[in-house]
Amino acid sequence: MEDNTIVDQTSDDIILEVKNLKKYFPIKSGALSKQKGEVKAVDDISFKIKRGTTMGLVGESGCGKSTTGRTILRLLDKTDGQVLFKGKEVFDLNKKELIDLRTKMQIIFQDPYSSLSPRLPVGEIIGEAVKEHNIVPKEEYEDYLDDIMESCGLQPYHKERYPHEFSGGQRQRICIARALAVNPDFIVCDEPVSALDVSIQAQIINLLKELQEKRNLTYLFISHDLSVVEHISDTVGVMYLGSLVEFGNKKDIFKNPAHPYTQALLSAVPVPDPDVKMNRVILEGSIPSPANPPKGCKFHTRCNRCMEICKTVVPEVREIEEGHFVRCHLYNEDVK
């Protein structure tokens, strides 16, 4: 019994815990679809998200950010590892429990143009899940829908319209409303603002923040835009070729980046100030193929502080400050 209470306490605080999650995609070829290799899209990543906070996940395209998000939601099957949502393993749930879980975890996709069905009116898009999961009694359904739409900055009369009648920013509001309609605790935001203009971007980010405060939501915010991630996140994870190279509080990551990749990433962001002298670390080449990642530290081919050991030994995750984890040999005392 005592054990149970401990689990409950932690689950109150930590809403999502990912432990050594791996997701490999097989590469098949030939007439018999023989497996020739694997793409290690997500390779051994672990992190925790506290309730009511936002974790930002940054990295270049193809580093596995979106795959992580989708695997957590069980939209993809895992290869190995654990995803604990409120202390329960997501992949162990049976069909019925999974349906209940769907109301607790939601996702907002990147492209508001392709993620909305063009044949359904907006009210239907937002309300479909509400009906399916019986979130509210039938007679309150219309009012509930109006409420949700209003909180996302949409007018109730928009219900009868179709997605093509809306601009990009408003479509993204529809996507947010759709995710919120089932009253979730946790939302994966997969590049929700990348397809939008700067001023619209600001509106959507503000809306997400407002909703978080009002409903005590937890976000996993996936983006390649570091400035947006810095603005919205509490903790930040930096991914490179499927592994989490650095994880910590926003301040640690942005003020005191430890991993050479994070440093390079931060220095590559253009600053809107013509006086800022460009003293940047420019990464050579592009991200290697995840089907055939480099041996040792995956980043060593592009790293400007590469040592001999980096080419052969995979670095361990180290905690260099409280809550600041780095996967790099530079912080390995034994090497020095």
Binding site: E60, S61, E165, S167, D197, V198, S199, I200, Q201, A202, Q203, I205, N206, K209, H224, D225, L226, S227, V228, E230, H231, F254, A264, L265, L266, S267, A268, V269, P270, V271, P272, D273, P274, D275, V276, M278, R280, I282, L283, S286
Partner: protein, 389 residues
Amino acid sequence: MALFNKKKSKDANYISAKESRRISSENRKITDEIEKQRNRKNVPREEYITQMKDPNNVVEFDDLHTYFFTDIGTVKAVDGVSFNIPQGKTVGVVGESGCGKSVTSLSLMQLVQRPQGQIVKGAIRLNTGEEVYDIAKTPSSEMQKLRGNTVSMIFQEPMTSLNPVFRIGVQLDEVIALHNEDMSKEDVKKRSIEMLELVGIANSEGVYKMYPHELSGGMRQRIMIAMGIACNPRVIIADEPTTALDVTIQAQILELLRNLKDKINSSIMLITHDLGVIAEMADYVVVMYAGKIVERGTAEEIFKNPCHPYTIGLMNSKPVVGKEVDRLYSIPGKVPNPIDMPNYCYFKDRCEKRFGKCEAAYPHEIYLTPTHAVSCYLYDDKGEVKDGR
């Protein structure tokens, strides 16, 4: 009365079929007239050879109006734009989507979709070094010699702007061979490989034989740049060259553009919505809103002392690494309907600093310094900031 109300409740863009037919037949009259002018044979050279106002400029946009005649009305995509691109400098054009920044650059290339899209007024003077062409009047046959040679363009989407069924080499050779008819095939190939090396492609011989799908986004953008600079153009138009790329690749490409510009001594017209990219690259900045320039000046002036409320709003709405704000500023409202523009300042309805004077006609450009101009009534009477309230 009821009928009248019903009509009004429809979408702002809604017009009846009859109305649409009337508009389209009227449009036909206008565009046919312009096309007739354009398609004359043997246009006398005096018509399109002019003089630069300032010989140090490579391009001068002078009161450019590019309109699109659509079936629901005329879209004034570019409505009186004037600015210069000086020799060897980078001019950044910034604005939200639909503000006319791409149409401005397409007008310079004479690539606006005809016959619906037409330059109806104004001039674009292009200095080739020997002669000055007025692009607005230059016939297509002449334009073909300038396009790619004197002005060239790097497009936003490296994925879609390369032809997937031809090898990189063939596509590059085509550009070079077209503008250098007397070059032998071997020389053309040599030059292509030289270009690939110039844009930092290590395995240039190999890439020459590859197809676009074998390359990453950053590599493809390098190919596009190689194509753009293959004929040593005087002006390179870079239309959102890094928007589709990752930050680290973006940094590489911007660095490359900066170096190349000095190497071949050309000017860049950089179109983007990312203020960070502008600050890093541009010497001069032009801020556009709804087809008009709201503010222009040197990069220093625009970033240190932004004056137009739209510029200020744009800057505040972008989060900046290392700067913490509680809530991002977001410009209220949305861009007015391009078919039915108001007759006062286009930004008035979204502006937080509007006052009585804003009811008047669209404000003229007011020069705060010789290089810094702003179209806003707040700065009436040369350089002085008036408190409107």
